[in-house]
Assembly symmetry: D2
Homo-oligomer: 352 residues x 4
C-alpha cells in the first residue's frame, strides 16, 4: 500500500521489471489542460536506456500508451491510465540470481517482507518503475508550465568530480552526463567510463531548481514543502541524502550569516532558505540536492548469501548503469513537478 | 490540512505558541498497552525550555494532560486526546513584530499563504508545536519497547565542532548538549556559550540510531522506510538536510566499496545501507543524520521588511535557543518512533 | 484509525462519555472566516440533553472551548482544536454494567475488537461523541453560509406517526420534536411520551435538505456526493438506513416516470435525483432521509449476557432518550455541512 | 481524485466507456495468495453484457489482463495492475448525444464540473467502470475465502414484484434475474420483458449477506463497518438507498422488540442489528439491502436540454439494460468483498 504518491494530484503505479507491462493511474489532474504527447515522450526518452555510451545499453523502447482521461487532446478531469509495455520479458537471464541475494540490492529485504520474490531483474524493486514517475511528472510539468513554473535539474557531482565551472543551463542536455558545464561534464564522463572499465560503479549527485513558484505552497506542520520534496526524492532508487538551501553546510553557520535579509519587494538578498520558510514557499527559487549511491551491480566477483544461508560467489551480469545520475535527472524533475503541482492544488482551498 | 502524521498510528496536532493550549489526537494506538505516564513526562522534560544553561530560559511547564483513550492505565484502542496548556499567553511581548516579517522566520510565508498571521511568538510556526510530537513519540516508544525496538539520538556536531571521540551512549543525558562524548560535549557547550554571548546562534546536527528493527518494514515504492523517516525529520523546525547510512559520502564511493557484503546469518559486514535496502529494513541498525540550521532569532540589529514594504531595523528580543540541537534530540527520537511504529503496524497486513 | 472524517476539511475527534473531556481537531478550515461563537454554541444547545421534556434529562453543560486556530475572531488557516469538558465523570453509576453486555449496544463488539472496554456510559461508543461533530458542523455551516448554501433537517416520522401536514420550516425549532408541522409534532410528542411511560423507546427518521449547492460537487467514481453523505449519516449512532431523492421508492418506478426532465435554465421539473446525478450535484436542492433505530436502553427487565458467558437479567438505568430523532436533527445537519464543505473545497482544484 | 476505494486493500480505477481500455491497480493485496484466474473471469462473466435475454445485448468480451503483482500463480504483495480492453470504441454511435444532456444521466453534471464531457457512451460516468470493481472484488473474495468468509447477493425485488417464496441460494445463478426463488424469478423476468417491450425501464433491489465474519471488524467512530458498506454500495451507478439489518423498518419499532437478545455463545436470537453493533461486526451474519433506480435511457421520445439551453426532443438508442439488478448482483458482491477485506486487514493492527 505504498504505490501512490500525492494528495490531490496522485500517481499510483504498478509493474515489475520483467512483467507484461508497467503503468499507472494519475488522478486529480485538472480538467481541460492540453497535453503535448510528444513532450511526454521526450521526457521518457531522457530517462530511457541506451541514450548514450555511459548508460545501460539494455533495449527498452519506453513508449507510453495513454488509455483514458485525455479526450480530443485535453485532460477531462477523469483519471489518466497508462501502460508502458516491457519489450524484454526474458526471465531466463535471471536464473543465476533466483536463489541468491545480491549485496546491497533489495532481494533480501523483499523476500523477508513478502515471503517471496520476483527475481526477474529485481521485479518491483527495479528502477524500471521510475519510468512511470516520468509519465506523471511530464503531465505535471505541462500543468505547471501554464502557471509559469519551471523545473530544471542537473548533475553537479560524479564521484570526486564536482561541478566547478559556471552553470550554463543550455549545456545540460548537450552532454551525456547532464552537467551544466561542458568541461566538468567531460571530466565526469571520463570518470564514469574509467569506472565502468574497471567493472565498477560510482555515486553522484543532482541539483534541482524550481523557479517562479508563488509564495504560499506547503502545508504546515507535517507536510512542509521541503519535507514532501525530501520524501519524493528519497523514494527514488539509490538516493541516500537530501538537502535544500544551505543544506548540511548550515551546521557550521551562524544565524547572523545564515539569515536571508529581505529586499523591499519581498525577495531576499541571499537564499540559504532554498526558497522555503516554515515549510512554505517564499517566492524565491527553490533548490535542493540529492545524493545517489553507486549502483550495487558490479561486474566483479563478490561473495553473497543464498537462500540456504550459504555464502557463495557471484558476478554481476547484464547491462547496468555505471552511474545513475545522468538518467536520474529527469526522474528528479518528475518527482519535483508532481510535488509542486500537488501543493499548488492543495493551496487552492486555503483562502476562499 | 497538513496537521496529521502517519498512516495507521496517526498524530494530529493543533495549537499556537501563545494560544490557550497546544495538543493533539493520537489515533491507531494498539489496545491494551500499559502506559507509563512518568516516562511520557520524562520525554517532555528532555525537550522543555530552561533545562540547562545553554537553552532558552522561557518558562513553560510543559505538562501533558491526557483526556481520553487510556483507561485503568492501559490504552483502549480509542484515540488518545491530550493538551499541554500554554503557561505564558502574554502577547504584548510580541507587539514589536506585529507588523514586521523577521528574516528567515515564517512570518512572511504564513502571511502570504493565509492572508493573516498570529504574530504572537510565531503562532503555529513556532517550535512549541514539537512538544505534541514528543507526546506522540513517547507513546510510540512504549509500544516499540514491547517489540524490543529501541531508539537513541545524540548531537554529533555543533558549528565546526564535530564528535571525534568514542561514543558512550550513557554519556548522552549527562551533559546539556546531549553529545555522547564528554570531552566533545564540553567543546560544543563552550562554543554555544560563546555564540550566545555574541548575540548570535549556530547550527548543529543530530544522529539517530534505531536498533532491533525486524526486517520487512517499509512500503515500496513511494513509502520507503527512509523516505518517510526523511519526511519526518524534514518536518521538524529548522531542519535543512537528511541522510542515512553512507549518506552524502556515497557520492564519491565506488560500488565495490559501498556494497554491504552478507554474513551467513543475513547481517552485513558493513552498514552503508543504514539498515535499509530498497526502502525496507534489513534487520541491521538503522541510522541517519539530520542537519539543523542556526536559529533565525539573533540578538543583533538586523534590517527587515515590514507590512508596508519598507526596510526597517529590528533586534530580536525574548529568550531564544542559541542552538537547537540539544533540545532537538528528543524530537528526532519522537518522530523516528512514530515512523517506525507506523511501518510496524502497516507491515502486519502484508502476509496473513 | 477511524477517528477522522473528511478529505480537506477534516474533523478528528477523541473522547469517551465519562472521561475528562471530549474534543477534536478541525483541519483544513479556510483562513479568514469570521467565526460567530454564539452561533456555534447555539448548535451545541440544539443537541444537548435536558433541552425539553422528551429527551434525556442528563446534566451536561456542553460548552465548547476553542484552543487554537481562531485569532481576533477569524480563522487563521491553522487547525482548530477544541474540548468539551465532561461535567459528570461519575463512573460508579455504571458498575452494574461493568461485566454485562447490554443487548444491541456496542459493549460486546468493543470488547471483542479491543480486548477491553471502557464501560462507563458506553465509553467511546456513546453518542456523546456526536457533540464534537456538531462543533465541526457549526464551523462548516458558517463557511457554507458565505457561499449561500444552507442546510435544514427535520423529523418526518416517529414510530408509525408520519409527517402528513404541510412543511413549515419556521415550525421546526418551535416544538421539541423538531417536526415542521405543529399538528404532526404534537402527535409525535404524544407517542414519545407514551413510549417512555411504558419504559420503552421508539425509532424515527430525519429528512435533510441542502439548498443552493452549486453544480459540480462530488468526485466520481467512488467519492460520489451521495455516497459520502450516506457514509456520513450511517456513521451517526443508531442509524440503520439512508436514501436520497426517490430513495427506496425508485424500486417500483419506471424510467419514464423517474427521469427528471430539464427546464431551459438547467433546473429539472421533478427531483427524483435528489439534487445529484452521477454522484455530482446538479444545482437542484439536495435531499435525503435517514432512519434511526429505537434506543437500545429500555427501562424494562431484559435477559443479557455477562462476561462469564452466562445469561443474566438486567434493567436499564439512567436517563436515556426515549427517541433519538429530536436531538439527531442538529447532528444530521452537522455531518451534512462538513460533507458539503469538503466537496466544495475538493472541487476548487478541478478546473484551474 | 475520487478514483480510489479502500484504506489498506485499495482499488484505483481508470477508463471510459469508449476509450482504449478500462483498468485499475489493486494495492495492499496480501502476499502469497494463490489466484484462480478462471474464478476471476467467472465473476466478470456474471457482470458482462449479453449473458441473457433480459440484459443489454451490447458486445463486450470483458476479458481481464493482469499486468503485474502475480508471479507463479501467487500474489507477490506488489500492486496488481490490470486492463480490460474496450472492444467497441466506435464513437459515432454517440454523435446524437454530443450536444444534448440526457435526462437523469450525468451528462449535465459532468459538463458543469469539468467544463467538458467525453460524450461517448457516458465516458467515465458509464457503468462500464464497474467491471474494474468486479476484478478487485474477485481478488478480495479469494483472500476472504481463505478466512472462511463468504458473500452472496441476490435480487429481492423488481418493480412491484417482491421475493415472496423461500430463499434457495442454489437457485440464484439458475435464472437470469438472480432471484433465489424460481417462481418469483419467473414473475420478475416477465415484468422486465414487459417493461422492455414498452420501451421503458424499471428499478429493483439487491440483498447481500456476508457470513462467518469474525467479531471486531469496523473502525469507530466514522469508519463504521456499515458506513463504509453504505458508501461502497452508494458509489455504484444507479443506487438510491442503503439499509442494513432492520433498516427503514426500525423507524416504527420499539426498543423492546428491536433489541437482539444474546444466546450464551454470544450469538443473538434475532438479527435486527444486521451483524453490526456500534459499527463493529458482532459475528452474526451481515446483511444489507440496496435500491437501484430504473435505467435513465428509455426507448421513448423525451424532451431534454441541449448545450444551447434549448429544450429538444430525443429518443434513447443503443442496447441498454431494461433493469440493472441482475447484472448488479456481482457488483454488489465485489464492493462488499473489498470493504470486508479492507476492514479485516485494518483490524490486524488493533491488538498486537
Amino acid at each position: 500500500m505504498g504505490s501512490s504518491f500525492g494528495t490531490i494530484f496522485k500517481l499510483t503505479t504498478f509493474g515489475e521489471s520483467h512483467g507484461v507491462a508497467i503503468g499507472g493511474v494519475i488522478d486529480g489532474v485538472p480538467a481541460n489542460i492540453p497535453i503535448d504527447m510528444e513532450a511526454v515522450q521526450a521526457e521518457m526518452d531522457r530517462r530511457k536506456p541506451g541514450q548514450s555510451a555511459i548508460v545501460t545499453q539494455r533495449k527498452e523502447s519506453d513508449t507510453v500508451q495513454f488509455l483514458s482521461g485525455i479526450f480530443n487532446g485535453r485532460t477531462t478531469g477523469a483519471p489518466i491510465g497508462f501502460i508502458i509495455p516491457n519489450d524484454d520479458q526474458r526471465s531466463k537471464d535471471y536464473d543465476h540470481i533466483k536463489d541468491v541475494y545480491r549485496p546491497s540490492h533489495a532481494d533480501f529485504t523483499y523476500e523477508k517482507k513478502y515471503g517471496n520474490r520476483d527475481y526477474r531483474g529485481g521485479g518491483r524493486s527495479s528502477a524500471r518503475e521510475t519510468a512511470c514517475r516520468v509519465v506523471g511528472g511530464a503531465i505535471a510539468k505541462q500543468v505547471l508550465e501554464k502557471q509559469g513554473i519551471d523545473i530544471v535539474a542537473y548533475v553537479d557531482q560524479v564521484g570526486e568530480v564536482k561541478l566547478s565551472g559556471a552553470v550554463d543551463y543550455n549545456e545540460i542536455e548537450n552532454n551525456p552526463v547532464r552537467c551544466p558545464n561542458a568541461v566538468d561534464a567531460k571530466r565526469m564522463e571520463t570518470l564514469i567510463k574509467d569506472v565502468r572499465k574497471a567493472g565498477d560503479t560510482i555515486g553522484g549527485s543532482v541539483i534541482c531548481e524550481i523557479n517562479h513558484v508563488p509564495p504560499g505552497l506547503g502545508e504546515p506542520v507535517f507536510d512542509r514543502l521541503h519535507a514532501e520534496l525530501g520524501k519524493a526524492m528519497l523514494s527514488i532508487n539509490a538516493v541516500k541524502g537530501f538537502e535544500y538551501g544551505s543544506g548540511f553546510e548550515c551546521i557550521s553557520m551562524r544565524g547572523s550569516e545564515h539569515n536571508d535579509l529581505f529586499n523591499e519587494d519581498g525577495s531576499t538578498k541571499t537564499n540559504n532558505s532554498g526558497g522555503i520558510q516554515g515549510g512554505i514557499s517564499n517566492g524565491m527559487p527553490i533548490n535542493f540536492r540529492v545524493a545517489f549511491k553507486p549502483v550495487a551491480t558490479i561486474v566483479q566477483e563478490q561473495e553473497t548469501l543464498n537462500r540456504k544461508d550459504e555464502i557463495v560467489k557471484m558476478e554481476g551480469k547484464g547491462r547496468h548503469d555505471p552511474c545513475v545520475v545522468p538518467r536520474a535527472v529527469p526522474i528528479v524533475e518528475a518527482m519535483a513537478a508532481m510535488t509542486i503541482l500537488d501543493f499548488f492544488l492543495r493551496n487552492k482551498t486555503v483562502q476562499l
